[in-house]
């Protein structure tokens, strides 16, 4: 009985039904955000240390995140936050009326990094809608392809995007008191990465010239090279189709992939060692760092990597094939697993637009899912995308992002949700390389140039900025070992002559067919909800990880994940006057989510005309 807030109950056989006796079961409270704004205005007028700190977008590309906060620079506290997606994405509108077979190619363009997962989600949605089961080798190679995408994505984020925040250059500017301490703190993992002390690591995290920065650039190439053997090209693969992959795979392909994958064995040990040393240093140096970006571990994930003996693409069996995935789907509330069933993950989803630049739609076409679970009028299968540009107002509408919730709660998404849920739920199938203990994931990394080693990611006591990035670092060996499991399976299938890569299909020209694709991006949770009517796409809805993470307030006033995490962030940066304030603690927190919009942020301290520009960069798929 996983829902506490939605009006859904379950009978003794586990069948969901709508609670009886409710006049308007999906009614929700709508709070006036103006009350909070008036209070803040009064505070700012009375107290000169309380200032508006705006991270306002100046960007040369489609897609931007901006952030508004009110900060008390004396008490070093954040008082109010608003997360803003400042551009309209519109893929939902573009896809309407098109042949469903176009969806994988078009939706792939929603992102310049994770095109492969968008294409895959699209393929999965069509597979479910019209009943296509890919052959085993198609499933296994899809798993390898997407593991490789993560192996591109995670080092990129850790060293190119988030990494500079922990570099010697930035720390010297924002917290110079840590530099001496870092030089006197021995690196615990010297055996795997070779650095004597933490300052040496921080120096090599310096952007553009640090060895770790440059090494990550070269590792992205290794992953990309392996990826194109299967996907044809990166970031928009040409071979991902409903029913499998449109590419032939031979032992020679597998060998080419293996010769790249093996490089991630040693790199996994190095990356986890580096980030353990850096994050432990920060957390030990000042216990207040544990409060940066802290929020309850409320997370959602779709799970990824299908078992070829379990995945049949049907909605009917989605709980079974979902639970058989190498990464377990589900929902965590306060760090506890409340469901691992894809049907419940799907059934609890809603999207609200009260604080977004969209018109509310009127329809409620699908009152239940195909097996009878009640669906809200705000569920993606019922949602319509009706853009309504308007004035930005903290009291009313301020984002192009919608506000997705699960069981009426804002949910966080990330690669880390994948490892957290899988470790906690202990439902993933047996693996030669992975072991889930309920409180950790043990990852047995085979030897390459370094000796074999068991890495262990432990569920942290506090869910904060540092732990998000630490978990992401462990997702590198996790993804590499899932790829290895699948590589061994692929080898076996080819040796047995099971070389078929895809199942042919035809789009039915009559009737209504619905499906959803659920496959995490490098940044976590991703769903594509699809309705085909009379052979064309009637509705298409995409919920990306950054749709969840960058969400504005719920209609009832609960902050979105970025908003909540920044709200809880203490200001630990050292500055003499407001003009010197750089906002590093806030920026580290926002970046720890791996935000999925390119964004240049301005920090403006009121009454000072002081503007600082900072980058919060990744891709643009979070923007609707």
């Amino acid at each position: 009985m996983c829902f506490k807030n939605l009006p859904i109950d379950f009978d003794e056989n586990g069948n969901a039904f709508l609670k009886e006796g409710l006049a308007n079961p999906y009614e929700h409270k709508v709070v006036d955000l103006g009350v909070e704004q008036d209070k803040l205005k009064g505070l700012m007028e009375r107290n000169g240390f309380i200032r508006s700190v705006d991270y306002d977008p100046v960007t040369r590309v489609a897609g931007a995140l901006a952030f508004h906060s009110v900060v008390d620079l004396k008490e070093k506290k954040v008082l109010s936050t608003n997360s803003m997606a400042t551009l309209f994405r519109g893929y939902e509108v573009i896809l309407k009326g098109r042949d469903p077979r176009d969806a994988a190619y078009i939706s792939s363009r929603a992102c310049g990094v994770c095109g492969g997962v968008h294409a895959t989600c699209s393929a999965l949605a069509i597979e479910m809608a019209i009943g296509i089961k890919p052959p085993p080798l198609g499933i296994v190679m899809r798993n390898i392809l997407l593991a490789l995408e993560y192996l591109y994505d995670h080092p990129l984020h850790l060293f190119l995007l988030a990494g500079p925040d922990y570099s010697e250059e930035i720390v010297r500017e924002t917290n110079p008191e840590l530099i001496d301490l870092a030089s006197n703190t021995p690196a615990k993992n010297k055996a795997v990465h070779g650095y004597e002390n933490v300052l040496d690591i921080m120096k090599d995290l310096n952007p553009l010239k640090g060895k770790l920065y440059l090494e990550a650039l070269s590792m992205t190439r290794v992953a990309r090279e392996a990826y194109v053997f299967i996907g044809g090209k990166y970031p928009h693969p040409q071979s991902v189709v409903p029913g499998g992959l449109s590419v032939n795979v031979t032992m020679s392909t597998l060998n080419e992939v293996y010769s790249r994958l093996i490089k991630f064995f040693d790199y996994s040990q190095k990356v986890t060692g580096i980030w353990d040393d850096v994050f432990d240093f920060f957390l030990d140096s000042n216990p207040e760092y544990a409060k940066c970006g802290i929020r309850p571990a409320n997370m959602i994930d779709t799970g990824v990597w299908d078992r070829p003996d379990a995945y049949d693409a049907t909605f009917k069996n989605c709980n079974e094939w979902g639970n058989a995935r190498w990464s377990t789907p589900g929902v965590l509330i306060n760090g506890e697993v409340v469901t691992t069933n894809l049907r419940e993950v799907n059934g609890g989803l809603e999207e609200f637009v009260e604080h977004s630049y969209y018109e509310k739609w009127n329809g409620h076409q699908f009152k239940t899912d195909p097996l009878g679970m009640p669906l809200s009028p705000n569920h993606p299968w019922n949602k319509e995308t009706i853009p309504k540009p308007g004035k930005q107002s903290w009291r009313d509408r301020y984002s192009w992002d919608t506000c997705p919730t699960w069981d009426r709660m804002p949910m966080e998404a990330g690669a880390y949700s994948r490892i957290y849920l899988t470790a906690k739920a202990k439902k993933a199938p047996e693996s030669k390389f992975l072991e889930n203990t309920g409180h950790s994931m043990k990852i047995h990394v085979p030897k390459h140039q370094l000796p074999e080693r068991t890495l262990e990611w432990k569920i942290p006591e506090h869910w904060n900025t540092f732990e998000r990035n630490r978990a992401r670092a462990y997702c590198i060996p996790y993804s590499a070992m899932v790829a290895m499991d699948n590589w061994l399976l692929a080898q076996k299938l080819i040796m047995n002559g099971e070389t078929k890569m895809s199942t042919s299909f035809e789009i039915p020209k009559k009737g209504t067919h619905i499906g959803f694709g659920a496959w995490g991006a490098g940044r976590g949770f991703l769903t594509h909800h699809l309705i085909i009517k009379e052979g064309v796409i009637d509705n298409y809805q995409i919920v990306t990880p950054s749709t969840l993470n960058a969400a504005p307030r719920t209609p009832w006033g609960a902050p979105g994940p970025y908003e909540e995490a920044v709200l809880n962030t203490p200001i630990l940066e050292k500055y003499d006057k407001p003009e010197d304030y750089k906002g590093i603690d806030i920026l580290r927190t926002i970046r720890s989510f791996d935000p999925c919009m390119p964004c240049t942020t301005h920090i403006m301290a009121k009454e000072s005309d002081h503007i600082v520009t900072r980058e919060v960069t990744t891709c643009a798929c979070g923007i609707e």
Partner: protein, 182 residues
């Protein structure tokens, strides 16, 4: 016709953006030209980092690079063609880092490509941009009449620069990394 230089002709730009897609739209026509040995014609939209890594991996580097692009600039008529020569120079480290951030996350921009290439020292002495004024961004597969009328000239100029570099009294503008983002 023989050519004693190894030359890269690269097209850069988003697809389906009307005049802004001059590079990708004219790629097939450029590839159809009977080029001498040593000339490579390819799209260069697959990310500046990947492009730089490709260039670094070549045993015999290119000696001349010609990019065909369409960048909206003030005070130009739609369809106007300018020839630029990359003169090197770099913006400050923060701007380079911003370019790398954009590049690593899928932004297609010849300016990012030039700056990152300069940072990693991959450019030969001769790097040219054939830059067509596209006007405002409008989604679509077709060029406007002004640009369509210029297609033969664009192809001929690309061919000429690729094979001969700068000859005679051609008007050439300079592009520098240290002033690119001013």
């Amino acid at each position: 016709m023989g050519l004693n230089k190894k030359v890269l002709i690269g097209t850069v730009g988003y697809q389906l953006l009307g005049n802004h897609s001059v590079g990708p739209n004219l790629l097939p026509q450029l590839q159809a030209i009977n080029w001498p040995e040593g000339v490579v014609v390819d799209e260069m939209n697959w990310g500046p980092i990947a492009v730089i890594q490709y260039l670094e991996s070549l045993e015999t580097p290119f000696e001349r690079v010609v990019f065909l692009v369409a960048i909206e600039r003030a005070h130009r008529k739609i369809g106007e063609i300018n020839l630029y020569r990359w003169m090197g120079g770099l913006p400050d480290d923060k701007q380079i880092q911003a370019c790398v951030g954009d590049a690593a996350t899928g932004v297609i921009s010849v300016e990012n490509l030039l700056v990152i290439g300069e940072h990693f020292k991959v450019w030969p002495k001769e790097v040219y941009l054939i830059d067509v004024e596209p006007g405002m961004e409008i989604a679509g597969e077709q060029f406007t009449k002004n640009v369509t009328a210029q297609v033969p000239k664009i192809l001929e100029l690309t061919r000429h620069i690729a094979l001969n570099g700068i000859r005679g009294s051609m008007k050439i503008l300079e592009l520098r990394g240290d002033t690119l983002f001013d």
